[in-house]
Assembly symmetry: C2
Homo-oligomer: 309 residues x 2
């Protein structure tokens, strides 16, 4: 174990990297940002490569990589990095199938490096407070409402509508990453997925879960929400009604705000990644992805109006 | 540990129970067939109940249950049985979602009883010989071809076309239960699922896998195959071309039949179940179900001609 900065490369320089990864890494002394690889994007002031293979070949000193390309292309890059004995940070979702991420986990172990399946929403500021509240109360039901405007948050992102791009489950998996962290274990009992007639991924989903102790949890995902956006988890308990809103930023109990602070999700993610690298462990919880797979398997498909960006 | 016969109840008395479970149990001295529960079916000579709750209440001496109702209804019955501290045999597929079976596994452990997620095709006569052959050879590619006539094998089984009924993956999961036993670990890279315009489950599927060491495996599932039926797994190796046909019954290498004997899948399943009950262990491999969930998540949906029985 060393406390020297971890030499980090980032692969797939798009919107999320510019908005979140670069500022988080820049402010974190645990890292030395060493190189970037991307087909289109470039980062100023460091070497840039057209792809991960070129970066790995030219930068033997790299110790870790963050993989931020669309999930359909993440496995090959992760495999190349793990086989080159680099620690790997996977943006969410960690892959296009559950099985491929299970393989990556085994591969990380075999190569003695760390794998981090990151779920940024789990690090939203009020999530731990919500978890503590629910651990102290008796839950009777919960509802997940995640309603946003895809045109605003994912303008012209074609990959997200392709098979493996998850559609409305791309934001929905953020909700699930929080729900699986704060609620009891649960499983899907029914689901309806709305597919636009011209798209291969759903634009809305209506999902019913049951917790392992028999309580109902509903999830409503909608990608055509204009006006106010909702990223809320509500829970009815014997200690009052909990509302975790703003994607995990704000917590209220019976209408009284008990937790509200600015988000720092990506800084927390990079803090966590450095922790597991230094500790020689991995952090790969696939429950959110498993629920998405189960929703697609069990869900009834409903064809709705065509979607155009 | 006792070697007294295990007092067994069977729930969901339909075609598979009459054709397979009852004859297998009758011939196996490890079991005392004690009761049956079913909404419609009845078994002569033993007490019959309308459902598992009534059976569990009236038969406190029961030690184990086999659950053979459609997968959409299996979780509640399994939960009731496990909480009553009965060992549980799950017909395939073990549930309608991966997550629910993970919960059952935890529940079995908590209650100190055995859970068996049975995959009958894994016990087809030539499967172990195929596995041994592939372990001794260098694989270059494999192909799974599972083509049968749904009207012949599942006449008017409406549940199989409902969400959670799996459609053509109901037989396809048999193929996967063999493939995941004899081939290297693999994951899906692309899939196309053909849904009849009037049904909620696919009638055909075209799936591409890659093994963890990079080899291609294809899977073709078709439920409209009339004439000769195909339940074959083919593998190209440095020691010749392997053909495992007849759903695992017959093995040929370069055209020469090396293994061909009558099937005894369900007798083997009940032998295995008695083994794990006596040993106090569980046997729950979810890889076949995981691949189906992944296929639904990653797969492109294609709408095809309506299906009528």
């Amino acid at each position: 174990m060393t406390s020297n900065p971890i030499k980090l490369g980032i692969v797939g320089v798009g919107k999320i990297v510019r908005d979140q990864h670069l500022p988080a890494v820049a402010k974190n002394g645990d890292y030395q940002f060493t190189a970037a690889a991307s087909r289109h994007g470039k980062v100023d002031g460091i070497p840039n490569y057209p792809g991960i293979e070129a970066m790995l070949a030219a930068e033997p000193g790299l110790e870790a990589v963050s993989l931020c390309m669309p999930p359909q292309f993440r496995y090959d890059a992760a495999r190349a990095a793990l086989e080159a004995k680099k620690h790997v940070f996977l943006e969410k979702p960690p892959g296009a199938t559950v099985s491929e991420v299970e393989h990556l986990k085994a591969l990380a172990e075999k190569n003695g490096v760390s794998l981090f399946a990151s779920w940024h929403s789990r690090y939203a500021p009020a999530v731990e407070a919500a978890r503590a509240f629910l651990a102290s109360a008796r839950l009777t039901s919960a509802a997940i409402n995640w309603k946003e405007d895809v045109r605003r948050w994912h303008p012209n992102q074609e990959w997200i509508w392709e098979p493996g791009g998850f559609g409305v489950f791309d934001p929905g998996i953020n909700a699930l990453s929080i729900a699986t962290h704060i609620l009891p274990p649960m499983f899907i009992t029914s689901a309806v997925l709305d597919f636009p007639e011209n798209r291969a991924a759903p634009v809305a989903a209506h999902v019913a879960f049951r917790t392992s102790n028999g309580l109902p949890v509903t999830m409503e995902l909608d990608w055509l929400q204009t006006g106010p956006q909702s990223w809320d988890i509500l829970a009815e308990t014997d200690k009052g009604k909990m509302v975790l809103s703003g994607g995990g930023a704000k917590l209220a109990i019976d209408g009284k705000i008990v937790h509200d602070e600015p988000e720092a999700e990506y800084p927390m993610l990079y803090k966590r990644f450095a922790e597991i690298v230094r500790a020689g462990t991995s952090d790969v919880d696939l429950a959110p992805l498993q629920h998405v797979a189960d929703a697609f398997m069990l869900g009834k498909r409903n064809v709705v109006e065509a979607f155009f960006d």
